[in-house]
């Protein structure tokens, strides 16, 4: 049978009609059907049937395009295909997955911290309604002292201010004040320091959590002369035996008996997890005047009241108070959410790190996208073939996207696994003072986050692949011409972007690192090596009204410590350097006949005469204090004090009103740091330690050898000296000092690590592009060399290609740095955010690294053997 096929025009129409994986079979069946029918029905009718069936086939096939079963089957096939492809190319797969794992893992790690510190809800009902309310002390806002400026924004509240706020404000369901005080508590048979909170009855309404056992204090107990009652934490209750019978028994706080009336539920904490007791504000504080602010205020916003509303109302309340009450201090109000209040300065560091780590992910994703483009290029013929065989562009894009998704998902899994494995180490490397450290955990939310960013990365790959496909006419892929894709614009843009981001990250890291180094190289002025400090408290029995016994306590303990072998010197000190607290006060000059407190203010510290020798602080003039505890009227001041307050006088012999009595300056000590390295040195006066009232203070010990070996002996010696003594916080001064710089160190190291990652990734990206270009131009290079070009010229061509990406990248990066590093200002120490030297160095480093990345491909280009290259086709 001479089987004449359907007419060519009919076949052409059918081909145009039919797309998809099955079109090949459908066209074949249609042709067969035509051939069979033509014999009995003739060409015309058969042809009509052919076209009718083709049209019907098109309808059937179109309607099924998005059928989930078909689609998922196809996608599954694509995924299998992708996995098979990746297994065939393990080098590419490993590079892509490791790169993504690094980027995604770093993000997961930072997210777990951000989630714990900033996002996880606080364990109170409707926690978003809980706010801290601070006064804003205007006088200090423009102070030249940074710690005063900081304090001005979080200025405590006095009892009368709290009463006024309660009366006048409408924004809160309830409002409470609280103060936290370390207190010596005599439990059933344990006496120890406990963090105790004094607060008001309204506190339970604010936090929204009632005691699990017993009750909270009532209105009668919450007033002057009220009964002394205390609510304890679940943890402390366990220590007491965990029995209902503790209700009604009493505890001694600083020696005073308090009746236990309630136990808070397990897991409850406020202000943080270190607090174990809550009791009504003591009478002393209720009698405060307007200026004696010492407490913090918290409130629960009324339903429907936004934080901004409360802020607005409280600002006007504060203005009214100033107007109505002559005693009121000139202060505004700041309402801040409890979560932000707790996160404090850590929040900004975390935001910075989150931004940086996001950029690293972009670099990683761009790098892998670049690799995918190379693969797409080398698979160009395959794709073109598939297109020619009838695969619609959508299907091709879907296939590329599935491949990208497979990579992203594998990278995400690997990244998550890495974070999971390293999580213990990660948590341990957070600064010890990180708020809500206990909330930093790996949980399902971290998993969801990883899944989300993995899918976003996959989407990015899809977009890049789709753009690549759109750029090219598939038909040209069949022409075996690899030149078509050498200058792939997409890849070039990706590499330029990577370099720019790396420059920004490196510049930021360099600025922070340089600041940190400058900070650490600051001489604290204290010889910290070999210094041990210990906080002591006298037995609570002698706390009140027993100066003679306190005196004995001091004499005995210091004598015992001095007698320890290996201890070269001992000094008492009221507030320890790097100990987190400092006190300050005003003073006057006696001969100026000014009011006793009007000449200015300075930091104050109570020390014994040996302090300067023990701490290694040089005296630049005069002598130290004499340990004459009964009638000392001497002061030592620091150099800054002389500079600021006594510039034109001989400081020695100047008489000063200090605490209401005249004191003579007998010495000038070198300036030393008190709060943390890098702070501005403030004027300070040292007076003799007040032995008769010092029930709780610190000792510093100068040791001959390793201070660590003395820790146990010190505690023992103190308890032996006076039974009932509490010795706590025994620490090496070097550790105390490094604790104060933990946050900058953490920030700097982490950002440096991220910058390193970014820069290495972008160098690899650059290497990839240049190496690929060299491989593609082998023939050209061979030809050039045959025609007489020398190695330098060829290498120059390669370098020119590379620099075409590097230079714009660096340029963009420098621009970006100039814009973004101003955000770092508050973290920088003695260096500007646009420090030209740093930027110059960063540029140089990136340029050098880029050249290194180009060196290998350039060398390969020079080594091309012309004959081999030309023979390649």
């Amino acid at each position: 049978m001479s089987a004449a096929p359907p007419p060519r025009w009919a076949r052409a129409i059918a081909r145009r009609f039919l797309h998809g994986a099955n079109s090949e079979f459908v066209l074949g069946d249609l042709a067969d059907d035509y051939v069979q029918r033509r014999a009995s029905y003739g060409a015309l009718r058969s042809c009509a049937r052919y076209l009718r069936l083709a049209a019907a086939s098109r309808r059937a096939m179109r309607s099924d395009r998005w059928n989930p079963a078909v689609l998922s089957g196809a996608l599954f096939a694509d995924a299998r295909f992708a996995v098979r492809g990746l297994r065939k190319d393990p080098g590419f797969a490993a590079a892509a997955i490791i790169t993504l794992a690094l980027g995604i893992g770093a993000n997961a790690a930072i997210f777990s911290v951000v989630r714990g510190v900033l996002l996880a809800p606080l364990p109170y009902p409707e926690p978003e309604r809980i706010v801290n309310v601070w006064q804003v002390f205007r006088e200090w806002q423009e102070s030249d002292n940074a710690s005063f400026r900081a304090m001005a924004e979080r200025f405590p509240v006095s009892w009368p201010v709290y009463q006024e706020w309660r009366e006048r404000s409408r924004s809160f369901d309830s409002i409470a004040v609280y103060g936290e005080y370390p207190t010596i508590v005599d439990g059933i048979d344990i006496a120890e320091w406990v963090n105790v909170v004094s607060t008001t009855r309204s506190f339970v309404d604010v936090v929204g959590i009632e005691p699990a056992l017993g009750r909270w204090f009532n209105e009668e107990e919450d007033q002057i002369g009220g009964e002394r009652v205390v609510v304890v934490s679940h943890r402390y209750w366990q220590k007491l035996g965990g029995d209902d019978t503790v209700l009604g028994t009493s505890l001694r706080l600083h020696g005073d008996p308090f009746t236990i009336i309630g136990v808070m539920p397990a897991g409850f904490y406020f202000p943080d997890r270190t607090h174990d007791m809550w009791y009504p504000v003591p009478d002393g504080r209720r009698n405060q005047r307007f200026g004696n602010q010492s407490m913090s205020a918290i409130g629960r916003l009324a339903p429907g009241v936004a934080l901004a509303d409360a802020q607005r109302e409280m600002t006007s309340v504060a203005d009214q108070i100033i107007e109505d009450i002559p005693d009121a201090i000139d202060a505004g109000v700041r309402v801040v959410s409890r979560v932000d209040e707790i996160a404090g300065s850590t929040a900004n560091t975390l935001r910075l790190l989150a931004a940086a780590v996001g950029l690293v992910l972009l670099v990683a994703a761009a790098n892998v996208a670049g690799l995918l483009l190379v693969r797409a290029t080398s698979r160009h013929q395959e794709l073109a073939l598939r297109a020619a065989l009838g695969a619609r562009r959508g299907r091709l894009i879907a296939q590329l996207m599935v491949e990208g998704t497979v990579l992203a998902v594998m990278g995400g899994i690997a990244g998550l696994a890495a974070v999971q494995a390293a999580f213990g180490w990660l948590r341990a490397s957070l600064p010890p003072d990180t708020p809500r450290l206990d909330d930093v955990v790996m949980n399902w939310q971290v998993g969801v986050f990883v899944a989300t960013i993995s899918l976003l990365v996959a989407l990015l790959f899809g977009v890049v692949s789709a753009a690549q496909l759109r750029d090219r006419d598939p038909a040209r892929g069949l022409q075996q011409d690899d030149r078509v894709v050498v200058g792939s614009r997409g890849r070039s843009l990706l590499v330029i972007g990577e370099i720019a981001v790396s420059v920004v990250l490196l510049a930021s890291a360099a600025l922070l690192g340089s600041s940190y180094m400058r900070m650490m190289s600051v001489n604290s002025g204290i010889r910290t090596d070999g210094l041990l400090s210990v906080h002591v408290a006298a037995p609570v029995d002698i706390w009140h009204d027993s100066p003679a016994e306190l005196r004995t306590f001091y004499t005995e303990t210091s004598r015992q410590l001095r007698s320890l072998p290996g201890v070269a010197g001992v000094s008492a000190v009221s507030s320890l350097p790097f100990g987190g607290s400092q006190s300050s006060g005003s003073f006057g000059f006696v001969e100026d006949a000014t009011a006793p407190e009007d000449a200015g203010w300075s930091l104050e510290q109570g020390v014994s005469g040996s302090y300067f020798a023990v701490m290694g602080i040089p005296l630049v003039a005069g002598r130290t204090l004499v340990d004459d505890y009964d009638s000392s009227a001497e002061l030592v001041v620091n150099e800054r004090f002389v500079e600021r307050h006594l510039p034109d006088r001989n400081p020695l012999g100047a008489i000063i009103w200090d605490n209401g009595t005249p004191h003579t300056i007998v010495g000038v000590a070198a300036d030393v740091v008190h709060g943390q390295l890098g702070e501005e040195i403030e004027p300070k006066r040292y007076r003799l330690f007040e032995r008769d009232t010092g029930a709780s203070f610190s000792y510093v010990l100068r040791t001959d050898g390793d201070p660590r070996t003395l820790v146990a002996a010190v505690a023992e010696q103190l308890r032996a000296a006076v039974p009932g003594t509490t010795a706590s916080r025994i620490a090496m001064m070097t550790n105390l000092m490094s604790r104060t710089t933990a946050l900058p160190r953490f920030r700097t190291l982490l950002l440096a690590g991220l910058a390193l990652l970014a820069i290495v990734l972008s160098a690899i990206g650059l290497y990839g592009v240049v190496a690929f270009a060299v491989a593609a131009r082998r023939r050209e290079f061979g030809l050039r060399m045959t025609l007489g070009a020398d190695g330098f010229q060829v290498a120059g061509l390669v370098l020119r290609d590379g620099l075409r990406l590097t230079l714009p990248g660096i340029g963009l990066g420098v621009l970006g740095s100039v814009v973004t590093t101003t955000w770092l200002s508050s973290y920088l120490y003695e260096i500007g955010p646009r420090d030209p030297v740093t930027l110059g160095l960063v540029t140089l480093v990136v340029a050098l690294l880029a050249l290194t990345a180009m060196a290998l491909p350039a060398w390969r280009a020079v080594r091309v053997d012309p004959m081999v290259a030309l023979r390649a086709d």
Binding site: A21, V26, G28, D29, L53, A56, A60, V70
Partner: protein
């Protein structure tokens, strides 16, 4: 609902059952045309078979037909046990609906035919 078969899907599975192992798309289509007189578009066959494959009722493979059959590539199908069960279920459904209704249906048809005669 998961095992529910559409009308056309049932016809295809019957055809596959009848044609035995490794029937190709064209054979299935001819079989349905012969037995039902319906004109079936090849595209509809492949699309529906893809759907059945996606649901795990059939498997498919692409083979080169022997030269005497034109030598072109063909897609061949094979019934899976799940497909057989689904078809069986569909048949039982139909049977249990039709059971005892033969007379009723006949008289209804007579009425219909008589009505159209008038």
């Amino acid at each position: 609902m998961r095992n529910h078969l559409g009308e056309f899907e049932k016809l295809l599975l019957f055809a596959l059952l009848a044609d035995g192992e490794d029937a190709d798309g064209a054979t299935l289509r001819q079989h349905i045309e012969l037995r039902t007189g319906r004109v079936v578009a090849p595209g509809a066959v492949y699309t529906a078979m893809d759907r059945l494959r996606g649901r795990g009722f059939v498997t498919s493979e692409v083979v080169n037909a022997p030269p005497e059959l034109g030598g072109r590539r063909q897609k061949r199908y094979r019934l899976r046990p799940e497909g057989a069960l689904a078809l069986d279920h569909a048949v039982r459904e139909m049977e249990s609906m039709a059971r005892g209704l033969d007379d009723a249906l006949s008289s209804a048809v007579e009425d219909a035919l008589g009505g159209s005669d008038r």
